[in-house]
């Protein structure tokens, strides 16, 4: 059991996880970002392109925070980052290409 444990410790390049305090700080930031995201919807007269940009930026920040800290990718082996970010880039490309094929960008811009 001990050898297995040390093997795992060696294998994951750890003890590379964040502290509990860091987790709580990240959760507070996530909650604030969510509140701003939702609050932006209720700002009167906010132009649509600014609203969409804000939502995409804050959504991406939340995504990155969860992946980096809660999923420990920031502390883990880079190979795991490649395993995840590679398909993530493909997924993003799939979304953009499908939208381009169906002229969805034009519809989004028109509202």
């Amino acid at each position: 059991m001990d050898s297995s444990h040390s093997a795992h410790a060696a294998a994951t390049h750890d003890g590379g996880h964040a502290s509990v305090q860091t987790y709580i700080r990240v959760a507070v930031v996530l909650a604030i970002l969510t509140a701003i995201e939702i609050g932006a919807l209720y700002v009167p007269g906010l132009p649509k392109h600014i609203l969409v940009t804000l939502i995409i930026i804050f959504g991406s920040l939340k995504f990155a925070l969860v992946v980096a800290f809660f999923m420990h990718l920031r502390y883990d082996n880079k190979l795991l980052t490649v395993l995840f970010v590679g398909p993530l880039i493909i997924a993003t490309a799939i979304i953009l290409v499908i939208m381009a094929l169906f002229s969805a960008f034009l519809l989004l811009a028109r509202g």
Partner: protein, 199 residues
């Protein structure tokens, strides 16, 4: 280096990359899930605004209610990492509490979704009503199914912990379960932003 190699030789789960197969497998699976959800999100966005008949998203989506459920799922991610941290430091009392609370919040999210779906069906939006209904129910339904699977997994881990069959030596099992759980959370971050928040 030699010690790491020697340790790796004794553990059949450690491969030539020096990484645990189970963890690598989970990350590869999550990568494939990115492409799965990417195609569903792309399809939703491609058909957005192209429904011939209603109801449409602006008439039916309940942003305040979904904001609460999104917040619940986001906070469940915090509880999941607290559970992992507790198991790693052999604090099984809090490990059990956080695991169970994560499952409860996950079940709460599924409950919100069941309420939302029921309300939509009563308001005349079904899978067959229009393009919005088809793409919305398929995307959020698949996500809900993933959350449900995660809740079952979390409860299984909790039962193991209650029976004393989960300890710090099994922290990788909790970590892998956590990776899956955080993934359903990040998928919802994207769905919530693109479908509910962008008008």
């Amino acid at each position: 280096m030699a010690a790491e190699h020697a340790a790796a030789v004794h553990d059949p789960n450690i491969g030539c990359t020096g990484l645990d197969h189970r963890k690598m497998g989970m990350w590869a699976f999550l990568g494939s899930e990115c492409m799965f959800f990417g195609s569903l999100i792309g399809t939703y966005l491609a058909y957005k605004g192209k429904s011939i008949n209603g109801p449409g998203p602006h008439e039916i989506l309940n942003i305040p209610l979904t904001s609460v459920s999104a917040f619940v799922l986001l906070m469940s991610s915090l509880l999941m990492v607290l559970a992992l941290a507790a198991v790693q430091r052999n604090d099984m009392k809090w490990g059990k509490i956080w695991l169970f609370m994560t499952a409860v919040l996950g079940a709460g999210f599924v409950g919100f979704q069941i309420y939302e779906f029921t309300h939509f069906v009563h308001s005349g939006l079904t899978l067959q009503t229009n393009l919005f209904g088809s793409t919305f129910f398929v995307l959020t339904g698949f996500h809900g199914a993933h959350v449900t699977g995660g809740v079952i997994w979390l409860l299984a881990m909790w039962v193991l912990a209650v029976r004393g069959k989960l300890g710090p030596q099994d922290s990788l099992k909790v970590e892998i379960c956590g990776l899956y759980w955080h993934f359903v959370d990040i998928v919802w971050i994207v769905i919530f932003a693109l479908i509910y928040l962008i008008p």
